[in-house]
Amino acid sequence: MPEPKQPEKLIDDKGLRIDGRRLDELRPIKLEVGLLDKADGSAYIEQGKNKILVAVYGPREAHPKHIAMPDRAVIRCRYHMAPFSVDERKNPAPSRREMELSKVIRESLEPVVLTDLYPRTTIDLFIEVLQSDGGSRCAGITAASLALADAGIPMKEMVAACAVGKIEGKLALDLSDAEDKYGEADIPVALVPNAGLVTLLQMDGHLTLSEFEQGFTMALEACKTLHAMQREVLKKKYATIKEAAEEREEAEVVA
């Protein structure tokens, strides 16, 4: 399959982007929780054309033993792109880029997980990109923290992530693949909303200081929107459990 041609314009006359979004608009997002039976926790995200599946295992016994820490759990993370996730077949062996992303994703999640509760164990995260469309590290983080919560692993809160970038001289939220490739800058941001902690901040391309500040604020707002979605999806899955609690309460009244 030939490399898709560079679109003539990233923003049309009406100020809309190639996929019809406004500059400050997120791509359509679909979140699902707990779809894998064998994993302790799992989540799936579709953000634009991104399709990412995350599985969490643990806390479990650390293997090999020497990686275990005496005072806390070790988090291991593998970000991997399926060979069919991009136009040109991707070699399934972990690339330099994937290893870096595994590391930054792990580091963006480590501050929220209460690892000191499970010393000498590991928590393993597998992020599998089934279809890639730019901004997959952010979508990966969003889904991974949802999967961690689904696994019942104690954590301070879920982390939400979103990118902001610059295309044709204008700041745009949540860049797609083409916008990332042919735009001028890209900043992925991960936010821990209650704590007000930014756990991922990268930038490539060029931005002025004021552009950066404005873009950063845009990304933070988007992270908060995403965080609300994460919470909603997670609670919806377990909402029916509330009824059981009510039943228990009723039973108590009767007894």
Partner: protein
């Protein structure tokens, strides 16, 4: 001292539970004056204490827990037992009943790899692997019965308030049932049929732990399958 979220409500990690000087219970943490949830679960309030009952998660050993596990290895002075926890448990030979225990003898004469044992967590402080004991009534090797493995988070539901669910199950299925806190349940029945019904009921509790009127529905399911059995019995006779 203000509760922000409602008790018995499903809460997500990071959700504000209360504000003020409540006591922190399980799965809750504090930043400043606010108390947050640390996992998905149901908010419970006991007097001044705020805690979250988790809806998911594996088994984490606690001293005094009754657990069932499989022997995975035999060492010089004891056995290694898989109790479905993040840690491998140790059952020392000195913690087996008998005058001196089978010490200095071949340990495999007592328990072999693959054997199921019912044990109690004797000691565990996270810095070392849990220690088990089989000294006690009803503890030791399990030679018969059926083993059902369910999520450890669903065990409280299987037991029910003041044991209501489990005592109903025992009565209705006419089976002896032992519940390990690690999610391993053992069933002994008078007939394979009654065991099968009990196992099915246990899986149903796990599957539908989050639904209303579960106890009644389980009771109904058990009596229905008993009727089916009787009909089948008269037909063959």
């Amino acid at each position: 001292m203000v509760l922000v979220a409602e008790p018995k409500q499903v809460v997500a990690p990071g959700e504000v539970l209360a504000e003020g000087d409540h006591l922190l219970g399980d799965n809750a943490y504090r930043i400043g004056t606010k108390i947050f949830s640390a996992c998905v679960g149901i908010l419970e309030v006991d007097g001044n204490r705020v805690f979250v009952v988790p809806l998911k998660g594996g088994y984490f050993p606690r001293v005094g827990d009754l657990v069932a596990g499989r022997i995975v290895d035999i060492g010089l002075s004891g056995w290694l037992v898989d109790i479905r926890a993040p840690y491998e448990a140790m059952l020392p030979a000195s913690e087996t009943p008998g005058p001196r225990g089978p010490r200095r003898r071949d340990l495999s004469t007592s328990y072999e790899v693959g054997d199921m044992v019912l044990a109690e967590v004797l000691a565990f402080d996270r810095t070392r692997d849990p220690l088990l004991t089989v000294k006690g009534p009803g503890l030791g090797k399990v030679a018969s019965g059926r083993v059902v493995e369910i999520s450890a988070a669903k065990i409280p539901r299987l037991i029910g308030r003041k044991g209501s669910m489990i005592s109903m199950l025992k009565k209705e299925t006419d089976c002896q049932i032992t519940v390990g806190q690690n999610g391993v349940v053992m069933v002994w029945g008078k007939s394979p049929e009654s065991e099968r019904v009990a196992v099915e009921a246990i899986y149903m509790v796990e599957r539908e732990a989050h639904t209303r009127g579960l106890t009644d529905r389980i009771r109904e399911m058990i009596s229905r399958s008993r009727v089916v059995e009787q009909v089948a019995g008269t037909q063959t006779a």
